[in-house]
Amino acid sequence: MPSERGSVSRRQLLKTAGAASTIGLTGLAGCSGDGGGGGGGGGSEYPALGNFPVEGDTVTFGFNVPTSGPYSSEGQDELRAYNLAKDHLNNGGGWVDSFPDLSGDGVLGKTVESVEGDTATDADTARQSAQRMINRDNAVMISGGSSSAVAIAVQGLCQEEKVMFMACLTHSNDTTGKDCARYGFREMFNAYMTGQALAPVLEREYGSDNQFYQLYADYSWGQTVQESMNQFLTEIGWEQIDSVPTPLGTSDFSSYLSEAANSDADVLLLDHYGLDGANSVSQAVDAGLDEDMEIVVPLYNRPMAQAAGGAIEGVFGTIAWDSQIDNEPSNSFTQAFEEEYERVPSGPAQLAYAQTLQYAAAVERAETFYPPEVIRELEGYEYSNIGMGEELMRACDHQAQRAIPVARGLPESEQSSGNFIEIVELTAREDVGYSCDSGPAAECELGEYGDE
């Protein structure tokens, strides 16, 4: 239920009522406007909105990630990075020392606390979990999502509740396309850009006269990957034989793969992620499909490559980020993460860390937690501090404009060194993307700031 401007949302009512339970409802009539000034973060300057103002000397972030379900391995790595970000925000370290906006003693002088929730890789569960964080824990920012279905559901809720959502791993076109939201920001690129980055590489490697077959995860993300790959591969002269949906959480792909093998395609695209992706690529190699066709996994990551083992050899795909990307921010994040957890961070972990710090920095620049001001700080923000070169957080759809790494899986014999993939190309920001009135952005209506 979006709260109409000027009316009091049920939650604000409860908060205020909790603070002064003896006051009758009539006593609230004049309260909604001044937001109980005196709370930190620019108190009386702005009216109450969402979970603003932030009372007391702590501020709560909500980390809503899958710790069960097919994307749990990604979710757990995100959680490690979120906790690292929280620690750095409060005590310094990592990028906090290099971001000019961040001080290392909390955000706007408040100590950062966090609440965690398991989305179970399921949109409804995720929404309930986020709702709890917003209502019960007064989270001022929610971050997370490994599944786009989850990210889109939570982003929609955050728009209604006027609480910021910093999307972590979500790659569907819809997140910053038809389901975009004023209150949501995405650092991760999308399926459309993956198609743009991958098609030239595939054409160079496999030629321009190929037939391809797709298996895709049957929800928002897989559907947009399937569409975008079809679009950009058709443009380089390839022909799609068929594309077949598989339910999210499928663990046995053997029958689908048999059918793919029967198709006599030259290239097999496996649009699966997380555990599903590791399973489908391993099972494809197990069934000998790689002897007759080239396998492509449009989006993957380090843990998936590790789980797939030797099966990932020669498989092309795009990745969010990898610790092999050699520059100052990348290296300092990898180092801090390894010191804390004795393991190499994955791409989703870097996204989680980056999104948390970007939010905190935007709050510092805005000098308030008041969401509309924080949003305006992020819109059109240009930065080059997270290890992916020069970037822009575009105002029209809240989609980061950035370079995209294209990776290829290493053979098992070379994996012992702890590297499972090599980066074959860093597709420049100029070579991917679309204007504000085309591609997925054409369908984006961001919605209200909440202070109109």
Partner: protein, 312 residues
């Protein structure tokens, strides 16, 4: 692709898909047929088998659950797959003996609703305890090295080696149990007990020991199914419950107490699922097995190979 090879591929896929159902259903079926005991903890034995297999086969890093909080971060002893294939059925056999003695025996004379409640309760407790200890993560049980990769078959072409192995292992085990029940004195007593336990007792034959062994065998088969089926999908705390219902369907369709019925029904269900997936009705593959079960039971309430006499 010729039509012949397509049909053969579907059949082979159906065989491997149905193999796990068969392994579970044979044990369930003989326990239900002989002991008249409804064991809803059968899926938990499968789950136990899969995790024991994981424990014996590999070393995994734990990141979730209570064990890591207590400082135990690795799980498993890395002995390899063959060891698991031998050890797990022995362990689950003894678990089965204990279950018969302490769970089934006190409930033989009680209505089957009580049996369902107590065994299902146990299964849920086991499943959730496991989740609490090591988290709800899915793990992959690696298939044995000698059975990874494809094998080139005539007509069909490449087929995953391990899935062929699953079919062979299932066939061997089921034939072994079938021979045990059909051609040994033990089997004779068990079958006689199934028909008329009172008469067997009057003849001075004690049934409690054969019953114990039947339960053990059923449990051992479920354990093996966990090890064999582990590499085909993922291992997580939910797999026991997920397998339980298809296994029961298999028993009911095949006819309670009939080993050959369980085999036939398992293969039917597996093949149906594969056909639905490979003809573009993947979304219906779960529903499909229920529809098939309903149709068969409408025509033959006692199951495909069940005897006319209703089992009470």
């Amino acid at each position: 692709m010729s039509l012949l090879s397509q049909v053969l591929t579907i059949l082979l896929n159906g065989l491997q898909q149905g193999a796990i159902y068969v392994l579970l259903a044979v044990g369930l079926s003989i326990i239900l047929g002989t002991l008249k005991f409804v064991n809803f903890a059968h899926g938990a034995l499968y789950l136990l088998g899969a995790y024991l297999g994981l424990f014996i086969t590999t070393e995994i890093q734990l990141t979730n659950g209570m064990l890591p909080e207590w400082g135990i971060t690795t799980f498993g002893i890395g002995l390899g797959f063959l060891a698991a294939l031998v050890v797990v059925p022995i362990v689950t056999f003894f678990v089965g003996l204990a279950m018969e003695r302490f769970v089934a025996q006190p409930f033989y004379d009680r209505p089957d609703t009580d049996q369902i409640l107590v065994t299902f309760g146990l299964a849920v407790i086991f499943q959730e305890a496991l989740r609490a200890l090591i988290g709800g993560d899915s793990q992959s049980l690696p298939q044995p090295g000698w059975a990874s990769g494809p094998i080139a078959l005539p007509i069909i072409g490449n087929f995953p080696r391990w899935r062929l192995g699953v079919i062979v292992i299932t066939a061997v085990l089921v034939l072994f149990v079938y021979a045990l029940v059909e051609y040994t004195d033990f089997g004779l007593i068990v079958r006689a007990g199934t028909m008329d336990s009172e008469m067997v007792r009057l003849l001075g034959i004690r049934l409690d020991r054969p019953y114990l062994v039947v339960f053990g065998i059923g449990a051992a088969l479920a354990g093996v199914a966990g090890v064999v089926g582990g590499p085909l999908a993922n291992v997580n705390p939910n797999i026991g419950t997920e397998q339980l219902v298809p296994a029961f369907l298999t028993v009911v369709i095949g006819g309670v107490g009939k080993i050959e019925g369980a085999v036939l029904a398992g293969l039917l269900l597996g093949t149906l699922q594969v056909v639905l997936i490979q003809t573009g009705f993947a979304a219906w593959n779960r529903v499909g097995i229920y529809v098939l079960a309903a149709l068969i039971l409408l025509v033959r309430p006692q199951g495909l190979l069940g005897s006319e006499v209703s089992v009470e």
